[in-house]
């Protein structure tokens, strides 16, 4: 099995025995042209009843009643325009994106603690610390030679050793390293004459090939190949600088968005994991959620609009999620505690919008979903869990049969595969 893995690394450009064609492709820094995958995380646990799974009954929500629930196409959503101070209201979000939006309610997170929940939602596997997040996996499969193939700004970001993660705190930091072979990044002042640098690169390439022929332990093999790939592929970072905006927005998600968008546009990045925290509203749930949900939606809207401006929106796959929901009742501190049932949303090319799948009941408990018909079915339905979503995502991204995906099986049996989830 590990031989297969090494073979995967090789195919992916991580291995030392990089085939000539791929190696030259890597040297030529061919830009990745999409699709681009962005995962938005509402870290801490969102209150789905204040967004895509409204209730208004059984004292689940204090800010509206059942009769106040709004609709947009097939979507139902909670009204909140009157309760927010900033950001984007649900009303505006659904008005702008409802026709493209796929929502799945009644998702069974299975646990109600942050760490396992975040891991499960990010990887589709609850009982392993080894699995990569979907964002990391898709980056490894689709853009292994991209210098910042998998970009993360927080939340659970394990890579499963199939790709390196990149953390870029500020857009300017990319600018500082983009032209690493030039003094102060000035392309008129190279450190080495071109022939000398070429000799250095060739010597490193030869040394890399020589190491590949040696017998090494798995960790040595992985580390040496990843190091070489990182240095070779880093040259493509030069393409990012034109897309780094001169002024950076103040909002948390918008700052992350600009770094991710510049990286996507430059063809150096496949996936990005964006996150804002503080959703864990154990105290004053409504105050917190009315502040954070609008901020979250505004960040998503900003991302999509900017993607439109730089002409990559048609290649943008958006996943909107959290690691848990919030209880149907309020605690003594007007907060809501952890709840293991929630929702997930998607927007992107190939995803049929204006659809609402799955449900929770009047107590905010999961309702089984028939995986064949995607309608709620208490008799033949299943508990839709993160592995079902990840299985569908892998199929959607065309990576389900990739050796990396097979190295991390999800164990979803055929009768439980969600048929036609993407429409």
């Amino acid at each position: 099995m590990r031989r297969d893995f090494i073979k995967c690394c090789t195919l992916a450009g991580l291995g030392l025995s990089i085939p000539r064609a791929l190696r030259s492709a890597s040297k030529e820094n061919v830009a990745y042209e999409g699709p681009y995958y962005v995962v938005f995380n509402a870290s801490g646990g969102w209150d789905t009843t204040y967004l895509m799974d409204p209730k208004g009954i059984n004292e689940i929500n204090r800010l509206y009643k059942e009769g106040d629930i709004l609709t947009h196409g097939r979507h139902k959503f909670a009204p909140n325009a009157k309760h927010i101070q900033g950001g984007m209201s649900n009303e505006d979000f659904y008005k702008e994106f409802g026709s493209e939006l796929l929502t799945l309610n009644g998702l069974d997170y299975s646990v109600n603690n942050h760490s396992p929940g975040a891991r499960y939602m990010a990887t589709g596997k609850l009982d392993s610390l080894a699995y990569p997040t979907f964002a990391a996996l898709v980056a490894a499969c689709k853009g292994p030679t991209c210098p910042i193939s998998f970009l993360t700004f927080g939340n659970y970001s394990n890579t499963g050793n199939v790709v390196a993660m990149s953390r870029v705190p500020y857009p300017q930091s990319l600018q500082r390293i983009a032209n690493a072979d030039y003094v102060e990044g000035n392309v008129r002042s190279p450190y080495h004459d071109d022939f000398a640098l070429d000799r250095i690169e060739r010597a490193l390439e030869e040394q890399n090939a020589a190491r590949a022929s040696q017998i090494r332990l798995p960790r040595q093999e992985r580390a040496q190949s990843m190091l070489y790939a990182a240095q070779v592929n880093s040259k493509a970072l030069q393409r990012v600088t034109p897309y780094i905006p001169k002024s950076i927005p103040k909002e948390r998600l918008s700052q992350q968005a600009e770094i991710a968008l510049a990286s996507f546009k430059a063809g150096v990045c496949v996936s990005a994991n964006l996150s804002i925290g503080q959703f864990d509203s154990h105290a004053n749930n409504d105050v917190d959620q009315m502040k954070l949900i609008p901020e979250f939606l505004a960040g998503i809207a900003y991302f999509i609009r900017r993607a439109e401006e730089i002409k990559i929106r048609d290649k943008l796959v958006v996943i909107i999620q959290s690691e848990m929901g919030r209880t149907p009742d309020y605690n003594k501190g007007n907060g809501k505690d952890h709840w293991s049932v929630g929702s997930i949303m998607f927007i992107g090319p190939g995803i049929k919008g204006d659809r609402l799948i799955g449900a929770t009941d009047e107590k905010q408990l999961h309702v089984p979903l028939n995986p064949q018909t995607l309608v709620t079915d208490k008799e033949k339905g299943i508990r839709v869990r993160p592995e079902h979503i990840h299985h569908a995502l892998r199929q959607f991204a065309g990576i389900a049969e990739h050796p990396f995906s097979k190295k991390f099986p999800l164990g979803v049996k055929e009768p439980e595969v969600l048929k036609g989830l993407w429409g």
Binding site: P147, R167, S189, D193, A196, I200, L227, A236
Partner: protein, 753 residues
């Protein structure tokens, strides 16, 4: 290396075969226990567990201090056997219970078609036929693994622990009895070792990652109102220039805050440096204070005579703080001794501030971190799947005390949370204070692992906890695991969980081999008075630290899986890269810090706040930094070194820039220099690699000769010093040597440990 051998021999004495010989057969130790017992039964069927009153009570091997945990494994096998032999309507009660029958309160634990159930079924059938499976004769775990030679081991040790290259005397001592031990003893007296120690333990405890200014967050207004802002009254009479005075004020505030944040890690340094038992990280009845921080605590006047220099912001000494006085008598701290009930790091203001509580969290975060940091147990790491967590939550009024799925963890966690009950202040309010109305009654009461806290001990509850922690076998194991993390940069292996993984047995063996060594080191650690230096020595002497390659191709997938995590191979953290540069070049790069403008965070560093885990693999962005570093360091170091008298050179003591390739004599000098550079920068000299570097050097010089119009001097940016002109370079050798240095700095042997 006799000493090394003797340690290795001792460490390899107790492994799984020993356990088998003592009565727990291999099928039980390798299949039944890891795949079923530890995985599905132990969480309830143990003392303090939800099923502690049943007839099937197991022992937690994690709390078993016997070598190889043989006592608990033998006990557990016997318990499984008894239950397996008990029959109800012709079926084994063990299988019936696991399948959720016979009123099993844990309901269905194993479905009949699951791997776990099949293993239990086989276990039962084996008992029936009284033919336990014979132990497999696996070859020794380290068969076919080559080990680091003594010279490279020495380099690894001095660079890793002291940020320096081995001295000539140390190199010469190799081969003598106890050479490595003596070097380690000396290294562990160096200040650089303690810098590394503090850095390493901060990676674990993260106590420097406190938000805001430490004087505002660590020292509560309630208790230190009159003293904590002492620096604002500092007059700086000796400084006449207003601007300079302002700068001095900024500096004193900055250093005071830094000193406050540094106290917990300085406590660790003090314990290790003084050869005190490392249990003091949870039991020390003192804190570390400096002249600056003691002013903040209002203790300076009492202890100032103990300082060597009363204005040194970073001279730490152990001090007992007096019990806290509030702004009203009701908020005074209870204390039977008149002192603050210190409990090492555990009870420090910094630790409690770094891991705060909230009204709804109820100190559970602190309890969770306590288990993780001091007992090596991450209660959320691999949470069990609950069939319907939401329904369980909805069904009970207090699920954490009533729902079996919740009780499993909360019965352990909540009592410890209760021990922190008098540290009930929220963000920026300090740490000490009692909750109005008393502690929560809808939680399990304060205590530790089944033992309740007596009311008269409440004022010193964290000391009470620390005393029990120090005696818990898991403490020693956790500390051994922490040292492993510091020396290798990664966590120890966890037991594999995927029972259907065809390589489960291989992963399990790898984990068990590592675990056996951890426990052996932990046992020695506890027996020898908890001196942490011994743990460093044991790890460094182990085959896990020295493993360096394969002597033959491991074609068996299972064997490859066993070896998957073997070998140090650690990408250096930004701080380590800087230290290594200082060791090799005499000067660091200075750009890999994590402050504003630094590249440390982009290079996988941490801020101890939001980014708390170091990157293990290089991204493309990090690859770019490596290229930039190699270019820039070579630029600054090469001409500078050639500008020095030959006897003072670090890089080029055997060559001048007028030596060009082409003659036997010159080629020999160049090769000798390349050998020196390989040894100095990479720590490895191989003939084939020397030749490759020689070809690089001579190739660059040859290319340059064919080019017209090249400058006859080194680049302006690479001049030896800002006030000097670029060095002459008529033969292009200076720039070719710079190319060689760049080439070497980009290599795995430099960038990794």
């Amino acid at each position: 290396m006799k000493q090394t051998f003797s340690i290795l021999s001792a460490l390899s004495l107790l492994t799984m075969p020993t356990i088998r010989a003592m009565g727990a057969d291999s099928f039980f130790t390798e299949e039944v226990w890891p795949k079923v017992g530890a995985h599905s039964c132990l969480k309830c069927h143990k003392d303090g567990g939800d099923a502690e009153d049943s007839k099937f009570v197991l022992q937690d091997p994690a709390r078993d201090a016997t070598p190889g945990r043989h006592v608990s494994l033998i006990h557990n096998r016997a318990a499984f056997s008894r239950m397996a032999k008990a029959v109800k309507d012709g079926e084994s009660r063990l299988l019936l219970k696991a399948a959720g029958k016979l009123d099993h309160e844990g309901e269905v634990v194993l479905k009949p078609d699951s791997t776990g159930y099949r293993i239990l079924d086989k276990f039962v059938r084996q008992l029936d036929s009284a033919q336990p499976q014979a132990a497999k004769d696996a070859p020794p775990f380290f068969d076919g693994i080559s080990m680091l030679d003594d010279q490279r081991l020495l380099r690894r040790v001095t660079l890793s622990l002291a940020g320096r290259l081995p001295s000539d005397a140390e190199l010469k001592s190799l081969g003598k009895p106890d050479a490595l031990t003596k070097v380690l003893d000396a290294v562990m007296k160096e200040d650089a070792f303690y810098d590394r120690l503090r850095e390493g333990f901060n990676d674990i405890f993260l106590t420097v990652g406190i938000d805001g200014n430490a004087d505002a967050t660590v020292l509560a207004y309630e208790h230190f109102e009159k003293t904590k802002l002492w620096y604002q009254k500092w007059e700086f009479k000796e400084i006449t220039d207003p601007k300079e005075r302002q700068q001095a004020k900024y500096r004193i505030a900055r250093e005071y805050r830094e000193a406050l944040l540094g106290e917990p890690m300085k406590l660790i340094e003090h314990i290790v440096r003084s050869d005190r038992p490392f249990t003091e990280i949870v039991t020390a009845d003192y804190a570390m204070m400096t002249p600056y921080t003691s002013r903040g605590y209002g203790m300076f006047d009492e202890i100032k005579d103990r300082f060597k220099e009363v204005n040194d912001p970073f001279e730490y000494i152990p001090v007992r703080l007096k019990a806290l006085k509030g702004r009203s008598r009701q908020t005074d701290q209870d204390s039977e001794t008149g002192f603050y009930p210190h409990a090492g790091v555990l009870g420090s203001f910094q630790y409690l501030t770094r891991y705060p509580t909230t009204e709804t969290n109820r100190n559970r975060l602190r309890a969770r971190m306590f288990y993780q940091h001091f007992l090596g147990v991450d209660v959320l790491e691999l949470a069990a799947r609950v069939s319907d967590a939401a329904a369980a939550t909805a069904k009970y009024k207090v699920p954490t005390m009533e729902a079996a799925e919740c009780v499993v963890c909360h019965k352990t966690l909540d009592p410890v949370a209760g021990l922190f009950q008098d540290y009930w202040k929220f963000a920026a309010e300090g740490v000490y204070g009692k909750r109005k109305g008393g502690w929560f009654t809808d939680m399990f009461g304060a205590g530790y692992e089944g033992e309740d806290l007596a009311p008269q001990e409440r004022w010193r509850s964290l000391q009470w906890l620390g005393e029990r922690t120090a005696k818990d076998p898991r403490f020693a194991v956790a500390m051994v695991e922490h040292v492993y993390y510091i020396v290798t940069g990664r966590k120890v292996l966890l037991p594999p969980k995927d029972l259907d993984d065809p390589l489960f047995t291989a992963h399990h063996r790898a984990q068990q081999e590592q675990r056996a060594l951890i426990e052996t080191i932990a046992t020695r650690f506890a027996k020898n008075g908890f001196n942490l230096k011994n743990v460093f020595k044991d790890w460094i002497a182990s085959d896990f630290y020295r493993a360096d390659g394969l002597t033959s191709i491991a074609i068996n997938p299972a064997r490859e899986a066993e070896l998957d995590d073997l070998c140090l191979v650690r990408m250096l953290a930004p701080e380590q890269v800087e230290r290594k540069l200082v060791a090799i070049f005499g000067k660091g790069w200075g750009r890999l810090h994590s402050n504003d403008g630094g590249l440390g965070m982009l290079y996988g560093g941490i801020d101890s706040k939001e980014v708390t885990e170091r990157a293990a693999d290089p991204s493309g962005a990090m690859g770019a930094i490596q290229r930039l570093l190699s270019n820039d360091v070579a630029c600054k170091a090469t001409a500078l070194d050639f500008s020095r008298p030959i006897a003072e050179r670090l890089l080029f003591p055997h060559v001048e820039t007028d030596v060009v390739p082409g003659t036997t004599e010159s080629d020999a000098k160049i090769r000798r220099t390349i050998g020196h550079l390989h040894q100095r920068i990479l720590g490895r000299v191989e003939a084939s690699e020397i030749e490759r570097t020689f070809q690089l050097f001579s190739g660059i010089v040859a290319d340059a000769n064919e080019r017209k119009g090249l400058e006859k001097q080194e680049s302006y940016y690479c001049r030896p010093a800002p006030d000097q002109n670029p060095s002459p370079d008529p033969h292009y050798t200076l720039r070719a040597w710079r190319g060689v240095v760049t080439y070497l700095l980009r290599q795995h042997d430099f960038l990794y440990e």
